[in-house]
Structures are given as structure tokens and as C-alpha cells.
């Protein structure tokens, strides 16, 4: 990502955190998941179902948005920065486990990489849950070939994983609301260096010495 040179920064230097493709995937998946959750609530909750009605239309929106979910997730793979973020989310280090177990994990004493262990866990659980919902949803939708007990089983899996995903999303949104800087970074792509040093020390260290978008110096170089 290149940008026009900014005027000499008197403000706090910003670090590039999320590239444009990453932000787009996050936004699109977020929107689709929200539509799925709202329509699921209408399909599932009796009072809402009777209030809103139009069962067939609501079902159509739910199914289409559900099947659309993997599109941005897979399309993002053409972007190198997206793949790099996925790699980081995938890998959990012994330090991550230590961070998860620690009661004082937020004090910054255990240096955290670009993603903390909680974010990695959320990423893995979300991706897995989306995969499970897609699989069970496909079986539920395939009235033609799936045997009936499988469709009942798929409904069972779909219902309970949807409930789990609901809780996951509530947690995710709660953490996001608690950190406006992190939330802003998913719109603008950048974070103030001081925030990075506090929340993601090891990652900030990778960028040390270069407030620009591309880290030119390796980790551990003098500030």
C-alpha cells in the first residue's frame, strides 16, 4: 500500500495494521454475519416470526447470505497481506498460551504479536463455526439427496452452533466496543504507535524505527 507523502507528522506516528483487502473482507463478512443473525432470529424466535412474518422471504435472505459468506473469505486470499494475517492468526506460540493463562495479560508484560491469543482463538472458532454452519446448512437445504436423519442432525448442529456463534459475536463486539482504537483501525487501517506498543508490543517492535507503512528494519533494531 502506497500513499501520498503526508505532511511532517506532528501528530502521533501511525503504524499500518490492516491492509485494504483485510478491511474489506472483515467488513463484508461482518455484514453478512449480521444479516444471517437477524434473519435467523426471525426464523427461530416465535414472537419475532409472527411479528415479521414473510417466512419465505426471510428464509431466502438468510440462505443467500449464508452461502455468500465464504466468497469474501476466499476472495481475500489473492491479497498477500490477507494471507499474511491468516498465517499469524493460525499460529499459536507458547507465549500465547502463557498470555491466555495470565491474569494480568493486559499489562503488556508478555509481549503480544500482531494478534493476541484471544483474537487468534476468536478467528479460529469463527472460521470453524462458519464452515460448520455452511456444511449443516447445505445438508438442511438439500431436501433432494440428504437422508432425513441427516437433515434432522444437520438442523441440530446448525441450531446449536448458531447459538455458540451468537455468543462469540457478542463477545467479539464487546471487546471491540471496549477498544475504540482497534475498532477504528478496521476502518482506517492504522493505529497509533503508542497503542501498538501497549497492546501488541512484539508487533510494534517489528515496526520500530519506521513509522511508515512498510517496515524496513527488522525486529529488535534500535528505536
Amino acid at each position: 500500500m502506497t500513499r501520498p507523502a503526508e505532511p511532517a507528522a506532528v501528530v502521533e506516528p501511525e503504524l499500518a495494521r490492516f491492509a485494504r483487502p483485510v478491511r474489506w473482507v472483515h467488513g463484508l463478512v461482518g455484514a453478512l454475519v449480521l444479516v444471517c443473525i437477524v434473519t435467523a432470529a426471525v426464523l427461530y424466535n416465535g414472537s419475532l416470526a409472527v411479528l415479521v412474518g414473510h417466512r419465505h422471504l426471510v428464509e431466502l435472505v438468510h440462505v443467500r447470505c449464508g452461502f455468500a459468506l465464504p466468497v469474501p473469505l476466499l476472495a481475500g486470499l489473492v491479497s498477500r497481506s490477507y494471507r499474511a494475517d491468516l498465517r499469524r492468526l493460525n499460529r499459536v506460540t507458547p507465549r500465547d498460551w502463557q498470555w491466555l493463562r495470565s491474569r494480568s495479560r493486559r499489562d503488556g508484560r508478555i509481549p503480544v504479536g500482531k494478534f493476541n491469543a484471544g483474537q487468534k482463538l476468536n478467528g479460529a472458532l469463527s472460521a470453524g463455526a462458519i464452515a460448520v454452519l455452511l456444511m449443516s446448512g447445505t445438508v438442511m437445504y438439500s431436501t433432494g439427496w440428504a437422508p432425513l436423519p441427516w437433515r434432522t442432525g444437520a438442523t441440530f448442529v446448525h441450531d446449536w452452533s448458531a447459538l455458540a456463534v451468537g455468543l462469540l459475536v457478542v463477545g467479539h463486539v464487546r471487546f471491540a466496543l471496549g477498544d475504540p482504537v482497534a475498532m477504528r483501525s478496521l476502518r482506517t487501517g492504522t493505529v497509533p504507535r503508542r497503542w501498538a506498543q501497549q497492546e501488541h508490543g512484539a508487533w510494534a517492535a517489528e515496526h520500530s524505527g519506521s513509522p511508515a507503512d512498510e517496515p524496513r528494519s527488522g525486529p529488535g533494531s534500535p528505536d
Binding site: 414473510h54 498465517r87 479460529a124 452452533s161
Partner: protein, 242 residues
């Protein structure tokens, strides 16, 4: 990005393991979930029916009603405003109020309620006027061989052959589970076709029309069986409820 390459070998690929693990669990659940679901319903159903907070009903456990409505918000008529019309190929067309229906001989039934999507509510007490009784009052003409049922939601329709409609377990239901049929359940007056899947039991009943030939109803347009017998239609093998 040098940092990424350095980051890569560090740590175990936990993310991938979690995703694959969940997928495996999901597949197991699809194959074995129907048994699990039955067990869970058996445990949760008695709790749910006695739960004053209603929180248990938020769990996807089955064993209770789910509410389907095929159109926008459905008007809630006052009990005094409700009308049921008899029309079509009859000798005596007419209109009944709720009080008229309540004054007719009432039939009680206790049956499992089976939805074609899989959920089943055990032992639901129903009470109302036999559809056959209303047909006798109207007197179908010789040409009539089917009944078309319409809903005051403006969209939902259903159909029965005249023979099916005269069965003793087909009710114009006024009460269920010991109280009036609530709005969400399709009240004040709904159909209850005991031996058939739930979609045949039209909600918010407002019209009974005698026709020549069965005119398939709303759900049949989406591929559901016209003769929706529980256990022998729609490709399902549930225990019959008739």
C-alpha cells in the same frame, strides 16, 4: 514482509486444527445428531413447559411449538369481530361468529403435533367444532368434492378432500392446551387436521369454501405433499398422529 516470514514457523497451527476439529464434530453431529436431539428434547421438554422465565425456550431443543407466519404482521381481531364464512358449492352459505362456534358441539382431542420440518410437540390437547359438523350445516352440493380453507392473514390457504374434511379428527379448533387458541398459534380459530403435518392445519382460519377438485394450498406450492399424512408423505417416516 520480512516480519511475516519470520513469524511463520513460530508456534503450532492451532487455528487450522480448531477449524478441522470443528468440521469433524459438525459432520459427526449431522450423522448422529437426530438421536442426540431426541434425547435432549426428552430432557428439556418437561423443563421448558414449566419454565416461568421462558429462557429455556430460547434453546434449540425441540419438543415445543415453533411459530411460522407466511405473510406480514397478521391483524388480531377482537373476539367479537371474528367471522368465519362458509361459501362455494353449498346449499346454505353463511357466517359464524366466535360465539356461534362456541355454542356448537365441541370435540376434544389429544394428539402429538408434528411439523414437516421435524419438530414434534407431544400430547397437545385440542378442542373445537368438527369440520364435518360445519359441512353438514352448509350442505355441500352434489358437485362439491373438496374444501378450500383461507386465512385472514390474506395469504395462507389449505385444502382437503371432502372425505378428509369429514374425518372425526379434523377440527375447527377454538381451544388448545386448556386455553383459547392464542394469536401466535393461529387463533382465535384455526384448523387442526390431526393425522396430517402441521402445515395442513391452517392458522387464522376465516373462510371455508366447497370446491370441485382440490386446489392445492400455500405450502403445496413449495413442494409439500397435498395429502400430508404424518409418516407417509413428504418423504418422512414419523410415527402417525392420527
Amino acid at each position: 514482509m520480512t516480519a511475516d516470514r519470520q513469524d511463520r514457523p513460530e508456534g503450532a497451527p492451532v487455528g487450522r486444527r480448531v477449524v478441522l476439529g470443528l468440521l469433524g464434530l459438525g459432520a459427526l453431529g449431522i450423522v448422529g445428531g437426530s438421536t442426540l436431539q431426541k434425547g435432549l428434547s426428552a430432557v428439556l421438554e418437561p423443563i421448558e413447559t414449566r419454565d416461568p422465565t421462558g429462557l429455556v425456550s430460547l434453546l434449540p431443543a425441540g419438543g415445543t411449538f415453533r411459530f411460522y407466519s407466511v405473510t406480514g404482521a397478521v391483524a388480531q381481531p377482537d373476539a367479537g369481530d371474528y367471522r368465519l364464512t362458509m361459501s362455494g358449492l353449498v346449499q346454505r352459505s353463511g357466517t359464524y361468529t366466535l360465539a356461534d362456534l362456541q355454542a356448537m358441539p365441541q370435540t376434544d382431542l389429544v394428539r402429538d403435533f408434528q411439523c414437516v420440518t421435524g419438530w414434534r410437540v407431544p400430547h397437545v390437547p385440542w378442542s373445537g367444532v368438527r369440520l364435518g359438523h360445519l359441512l353438514d350445516l352448509a350442505g355441500p352440493t352434489r358437485a362439491a368434492d373438496a374444501v378450500r380453507l383461507t386465512s385472514f392473514d390474506g395469504t395462507y390457504t389449505e385444502s382437503l378432500t371432502l372425505e378428509q374434511a369429514r374425518r372425526a379428527d379434523v377440527l375447527v379448533a377454538l381451544r388448545m392446551s386448556g386455553g383459547p387458541v392464542s394469536h401466535d398459534h393461529g387463533g382465535p380459530v384455526r384448523l387442526h387436521v390431526a393425522p396430517m403435518y402441521g402445515y395442513k392445519s391452517l392458522k387464522w382460519l376465516s373462510g371455508i369454501e366447497l370446491t370441485q377438485g382440490v386446489r392445492p394450498g400455500y405450502w403445496e406450492g413449495s413442494g409439500y405433499s397435498v395429502d400430508g399424512w404424518v409418516g407417509s408423505s413428504n418423504g418422512r417416516d414419523d410415527d402417525p398422529t392420527g
